[in-house]
């Protein structure tokens, strides 16, 4: 299990003296911002990847930028690792405490500082919930576009750390495309203001580098996001296909026709069957795959493009292509998709959600390969796919009580991710590497690239205190993992001793 850190493979600093750490922190933080008792720290033991657990040395909950800076100063002086945490909904173990660390929770910094309806900008603290931004902007006819499935609970700070996505990324972009400014506290105690109200900032694009850096480079204490005008109208089409390949073809043809859907989701037979049993969304059970295609914009344009989408789906072989007859049916079509994950509970005790990305054109062969792997590992896999942007979420079904099944699920997940890389894709589209996919990074990146990432980290954090053991594997870990990236037919890490 990857929640066991290995001092040989992970770059962890030695745990500092806990008593000294608590004394120093209690001098700079109010009482309510410091948690030292085990029962109080228990809730911080894990994040959205609940299979991984670890206890921090202490939990700090700073209330403002100065307190964040003070915590980092103590950690720097004592050499303590720092693990930042937003709402703890992340799915890759990014907020998993490492041994002896100071957990830095940003939940108390939860104020919306400003909504500027004319500039279409919102300035918020990192602990603000994603959906709260859209709710505050709605009276002005605006919303915050990135909408990860956890948007009810997840925080903007966490969204920035993970470069979070959602179902509307194809049209509206990821977090990185919607953040215009950050305030960041660095490990050397500087407060940096990157971007802000201007569309660009002088020098290198540090704003882009910080976004998605998974808590390894600095602590974000304020965020300026762009708000998007709410579309006039939204409509969805449900299409069902006798063969998965036909659905993949329809996706390519829709996008090839110059239509950019607000959302384009695909579910395979196992996923749609479970979702239908769970939600009664009206999905046809005889289909091998269904597509949900959502368009937004001016009503006349949507109507016209939906007809084109319907024609494309029918030409691709759809047995059904139906536009939701009203808003409640539109909601129902989506409810099925949104319920797909919980629906897995009906067919298996546990599921493990994978987050691979592939070029869309590779979809048919990747689905075939996943089916082969599924048989090989003896675990069923249901596929839910953000088809518009190539982000595949295979759900591996297993039973944690059955000996060895979790390990088998992890191994199958790793194999699927390595398959995605081989097809020109990525091991993660929106969940982040965190701890979970640390070994698969060795498949996606060559040693020189991983070394460059490490050098980038040192430029911000020379002592290696920020979220160590996450996101960027050491070369030693890659050697140990074995499934190594092979670059131009030269075995990687040839210069390193093998154990």
């Amino acid at each position: 299990m990857l929640d066991r850190f290995d001092p040989r493979l992970d770059p962890l600093p030695p745990a500092p003296d806990r008593g000294k750490l608590i004394r120093r922190l209690s001098r700079v933080l109010p009482r309510k911002a410091l948690i030292v008792k085990a029962e109080g720290m228990r809730v911080f033991e894990t994040d959205g990847l609940a299979a991984y657990r670890g206890m921090p040395a202490v939990v700090t909950l700073p209330g403002d930028t100065e307190e964040v800076r003070a915590v980092l100063e103590v950690c720097r002086d004592l050499g303590a690792a720092v693990v930042a945490r937003g709402a703890g909904t992340g799915l890759s173990g990014g907020a998993l405490p490492v041994p002896g660390c100071v957990l830095l929770g940003l939940s108390r910094m939860s104020r919306i500082l400003d909504i500027d309806p004319v500039a279409c900008l919102a300035r918020v603290q990192p602990g603000v919930r994603n959906l709260a931004v859209s709710e505050a902007a709605r009276p002005f006819g605006l919303f915050y576009a990135p909408d990860p499935s956890s948007q009810l609970a997840c925080s903007l700070g966490g969204n920035v750390a993970e470069n979070a996505g959602g179902v509307h990324c194809l049209k509206y972009g990821l977090t990185v495309n919607n953040v215009q400014g950050l305030e960041v506290v660095t490990m050397d105690g500087e407060i940096l203001r990157l971007g802000g109200e201007t569309l660009d900032a002088p020098g290198f694009d540090l704003l882009a580098l910080l976004t998605g850096s998974e808590g390894l480079l600095g602590i974000v204490t304020e965020i300026t996001v762009r708000l998007t005008p709410l579309p006039e109208a939204t409509q969805v089409l449900l299409a069902a296909f006798p063969e998965t390949r036909q659905a993949g073809q329809a996706v390519a043809d829709i996008i090839g026709a110059g239509i950019i859907p607000a959302g384009l989701e695909m579910m395979d037979k196992l996923a749609l069957t479970a979702a239908e049993a769970h939600t009664r969304a009206g999905y046809p059970l005889d289909a091998a795959a269904i597509l949900l295609c959502e368009l937004d914009g001016a009503p006349a344009d949507i109507a016209c493009d939906l007809e084109r989408v319907r024609g494309i789906c029918e030409s691709a072989g759809a047995s059904l292509a139906r536009i939701a007859r009203d808003e409640s049916e539109r909601q129902l079509f989506w409810a099925g998709r949104k319920g797909a994950f919980p629906a897995m509970g009906r067919i298996a005790p546990d599921y493990y959600c994978i987050d691979g990305v592939i070029p869309r054109r590779a979809l048919p062969e990747v689905l075939d390969a996943i089916e082969r792997l599924s048989r090989e590992f003896g675990l069923a896999v249901a596929n839910v796919f953000h088809a518009g942007d190539g982000n595949l979420h295979p759900l591996i079904l297993y039973d944690a009580q059955a000996p060895g099944e979790l390990e088998r699920a992890e191994a199958l997940g790793g194999a699927i991710l390595e398959l995605c890389v081989a097809k020109g894709g990525s091991i993660t589209g929106e969940h982040g590497v965190g701890r979970e996919k640390i070994n698969q990074m060795c498949a996606q990146f060559a040693p020189a690239e991983l070394e460059t990432f490490a050098a980038l980290k040192r430029a911000f954090d020379p002592q290696g205190l920020l979220n160590p053991g996450k996101a960027i594997p050491t070369l030693q870990r890659c050697v140990d993992h074995g499934a190594m990236h092979v670059h131009a037919a030269t075995p990687s890490f040839a210069h390193l001793d093998r154990f």
Partner: protein, 367 residues
């Protein structure tokens, strides 16, 4: 060849592949500590600090490697002329979202991305770094590194490739770039309104908080130019609502080709400021009416005022000023950086280019 080999529709020839040769050149320069000057089409040489150094010409490293229209992605070698990219895309009804300004027919993809400049569509369709999906680069040791990929969503590793957009080749020699592309909308209408900037600004404040199909808003001193692009019905409806004069696309073409109003000035300032900011301080320095692109967030200014005056005026409206053209030798081009941010630039430079051979001092004296 790279690990991303998902049945690419290969257009580029091996003849245009100079990656190994370029890598050897960089490694050799690093070993000797000899600074390199990376050369593309040479159309933007005077847009940053002119520098000395052994020329490293990437123009021979060219060709579109992959473009499958339904993937909305194009991958090409950095020496590929921008014109060639645009031709390939247009044939499929697509284009680059960020509307790169055209500085000359020789312009290369690598130069466009390294300069990180976006045209009038920037506020509506994103910057260069928003379109970049991945890159293959040479670092300052001559090592070939690949960051990002060819897919839209990819959060593995730091986004080192976005850092390259606008870094003027100081962090890496661009070898290949994958860009997200956009479909060309069905309808396009150009409108003109003879009105003062304050009036135009009020109009934009009202318009841009609505979901309107606007992809360009420029004020040239005489009036507001609006470009509407999108689906037929939406564009037609907005055009009817706005009225205005049906305008020829000439002005937009001239702005994109940098031959409009103050863009032709020999000493030209570019000020990036919040759209809403009161730019009186900047206005006071102008010799001729400034050109306001990006719905007012990018101001082009011809002035004989001193650099201190212009930078102070920009700061007064919460913006920053770049001496875009006409810097005297040694004169700072880019806005000065706060000390901790400059220190980070130096450390990042060392991380990618420890010997300091890639376009040193092209952006900042210390980087």
């Amino acid at each position: 060849m790279p690990r991303h080999q998902a049945s690419p529709i290969s257009i580029a020839s091996e003849a245009g592949d100079l990656a190994e040769e370029l890598a050897a050149r960089v490694a050799d320069a690093a070993a000797r500590g000899a600074p390199l000057r990376v050369i593309g089409g040479g159309t933007k040489d005077d847009l940053a600090q002119r520098i000395e150094g052994e020329p490293l010409d990437i123009r021979g490293h060219r060709g579109v490697i992959d473009h499958a229209p339904s993937e909305l992605v194009i991958t090409a070698r950095a020496g590929t002329p921008l014109a060639e990219i645009e031709t390939v895309l247009a044939a499929a009804g697509q284009r680059l979202a960020f509307e790169p300004p055209l500085y000359g027919a020789q312009s290369t993809l690598g130069g466009v991305v390294a300069a990180g400049l976006a045209g009038s569509r920037r506020p509506f369709a994103g910057a260069v770094r928003d379109s970049v999906l991945g890159m293959k680069i040479l670092d300052g040791r001559g090592r070939t590194l690949r960051f990002g990929g060819t897919v839209f969503k990819n959060v593995a590793g730091f986004d080192a490739f976005r850092l390259m957009a606008g870094a003027f080749g100081t962090l890496g020699v661009l070898l290949e770039v994958s860009l997200r592309v956009a479909p060309i909308p069905a309808a396009c209408v150009h409108l003109a309104f003879e009105e003062s900037w304050p009036r135009a600004r009020g109009r934009l404040d009202d318009l841009l908080r609505r979901p309107v199909p606007i992809t360009g808003a420029v004020h040239d001193g005489a009036g507001l130019l609006l470009r509407l692009e999108g689906p037929e019905a939406g564009v037609a409806a907005l055009a009817r609502e706005l009225g205005g004069l049906d305008d020829a696309p000439t002005a937009w073409e001239d702005i994109r080709r940098r031959r409009y109003g103050p863009l032709l000035a020999e000493r030209l300032w570019r000020i990036s400021a919040p759209r809403r900011s009161d730019v009186d301080a900047v206005e006071a320095l102008a010799e001729s009416p400034p050109l306001r692109d990006w719905a007012g967030a990018e101001i082009w200014l011809a002035t004989g005022a001193s650099a201190e005056q212009v930078r102070a005026a920009a700061a007064q409206c919460q913006g920053h000023a770049t001496l875009f053209r006409g810097a005297t030798p040694g004169e700072a081009v880019f806005p000065p950086l706060p000390a901790p941010i400059l220190a980070l630039h130096q450390r990042l430079k060392r991380a990618f280019d420890p010997a300091g051979v890639l376009n040193p001092r092209r952006m900042y004296e210390e980087v």
